[in-house]
């Protein structure tokens, strides 16, 4: 604080200092009670013994052992990993050009297009799921359209009920989110930089590789990991679009809780998944730090 503050009477100074904590207290209490505490309780449950739709007794690693040794869980975990990575990669790969265009080439259209893209973020999660069913199905929009145009004789059966359809729907869900994050990442970058590179003779590829990507690495990496985490843990999309091929671990976790009533197993699977996610976050931070890409600031 400046000298102005220090010259005030002590009682006022103290009031300023206690203030912030008191202000943050209600929200902090709520989050402690309804976010932190439940997670702790849930963690404890992962060490309890499962009884039919109930838990009991001694602390044990049974649930974890069960979770790790069952082959089904391993298959689903791999599925989740693959789908998560694909979805994250696709959204970032598509999001980068969009954010670039918005920041550097959109001009007057920036606000409108940004609004339009991010508005789809609110287009109800569930709606999209069955909307994609009616597009990708054998009698859906895509197939009937292509048949009508004479390009196909038989409908394409591989568009729906597999990892592909799950991934398409998840990309549809997370793309607006990524565009927003990347756009915010692009904001502080001056267009003069890119122009300078252009003037110095760099082609589009070189401009991207040497100027844009390093600047955007941190937000891109963060959104990649975020989308990966959220996509891998999805439990509704696979049920309606995934078929037998595109099942994800989240469905199993949800079934353990609301179906077979095996809470310790659900908890164990959840925390194993959580540990995997935390490692991904940590890895990203470490990688960014190592490549010295985590703190690039430019004045615009």
């Amino acid at each position: 604080m400046t000298s102005v503050t220090e010259s005030r009477p002590p009682s006022e100074r103290d009031r300023l200092r206690i203030g912030p904590v008191a202000l943050a207290l209600p929200a902090a209490a709520w989050m402690l009670a309804f976010f932190a505490a439940p997670l702790v309780v849930f963690l404890v449950y992962s060490f309890l013994t499962a009884k039919l739709y109930d838990v009991s007794g001694p602390l044990t690693l049974e649930a974890y052992r069960d979770a790790v040794t069952t082959e089904v869980n391993r298959t689903l975990a791999v599925n989740s990993l693959v789908v998560g990575v694909c979805v994250a990669a696709a959204t970032v790969a598509i999001g980068l050009p969009i954010a670039y265009w918005l920041r550097f080439a959109a001009g007057r259209w920036q606000v409108l297009v940004l609004f339009l893209i991010t508005a789809t973020f609110f287009a109800s999660y569930l709606v999209r799921i069955y909307a994609w069913r009616s597009i990708l199905g054998e009698n859906g929009l895509l197939n009937s359209g292509l048949e009508r145009l004479g390009i196909l004789d038989e409908p394409l059966g591989f568009l729906l009920y597999n990892r592909f359809s799950v991934s398409v729907a998840l990309v549809h869900i997370f793309l607006p989110y990524v565009v927003l994050v990347l756009y915010a990442g692009f904001r502080p970058i001056s267009p003069a930089l890119v122009e300078a590179a252009q003037d110095l003779g760099a082609n589009a590829f070189a401009r991207w590789r040497r100027v844009v990507l390093p600047l955007i690495a941190a937000p891109a990496a963060t959104s990649f990991v975020l989308v990966f985490v959220l996509a891998a843990a999805d439990y509704v999309t696979p049920q309606f679009l995934g078929g037998t091929d595109g099942a994800l671990l989240g469905v199993r976790i949800q079934a353990a809780l609301t179906g077979s009533g095996n809470w310790p197993l659900g908890a164990a699977l959840s925390f194993l998944m959580l540990a995997a996610f935390l490692s991904c976050y940590a890895l990203t931070v470490i990688l960014l730090r190592a490549l010295r890409l985590h703190r690039i600031r430019f004045v615009s």
Partner: protein
Amino acid sequence: MSTTQRSPVTFAVTMLALLFLYLPLVVVVLFSFHATGALSFPFTGFSFRWYRDTFGSPTFSSALQNSAIVATSVAILTLVLGTMAAFGLSRCRPRLRAPLAALFFLPITLPGLFVGIALLVYFARLDVQLSLTTVMIAHFVFVFPYFMLVAMAALDRLDPALEEAASDLGASPWKVFRKVTLPQIWPILAGATALAFALSFDEFIITFFVIGPDSTLPMFIFSKLRRTVDPSINVVSTVLMATTLFLWAVAFVFALRAERGRTRRAGGVLGEATP
């Protein structure tokens, strides 16, 4: 300020992306007006019958009402507690900042599945009956970090010199807040509140686990999805999309106002400052 370039490739990608994003949604809205019960092409004719059916359905009305009630409560709570918390977080001791920030922002990084399931188990343990109240509690946890992100961004952009000047002139902290800080940040807070309402209104992933016998609009859509689907589900989706789209527009407009206001004010204060 920004010079625009020509970049055909990124332009093409953006346009294709817009098509990709809007195609399913347009199909949904289109079929809400379908004359028959089919949800596949060809489109045979326009009719409002599904709208009539849906709006006449008592389960729909009660779900809509419940969603509105929950979203309003969540929005108000988030606004009040969130604004306080944002101030608290930005002005507290550096040592407290990291743990508080973790507590406030962690929910965004966790999938809704975990938050929902943990709450389900927690409420069961505490013998709390699932109801709209538990839904509201859960929604707050989910929505709060988003509000905080926006609010913190707004507070970061505040010019501390203005507040200090006001204090030095003898104004109490509350008066400083009311007369100096609030006028600068209220548009962004209003936008963030609209965002909070929209997020709560549309929430499904966590709600699925903590809801009791009363339904919300997304839960209503889900139960329709589990039933054999007819265009009434498109109607409900259209209503949901229209509402949240409107709110997002409101939030967007407020955010823009805040941007322009700040630029204006930065020039104005320098000229207006008089003892």
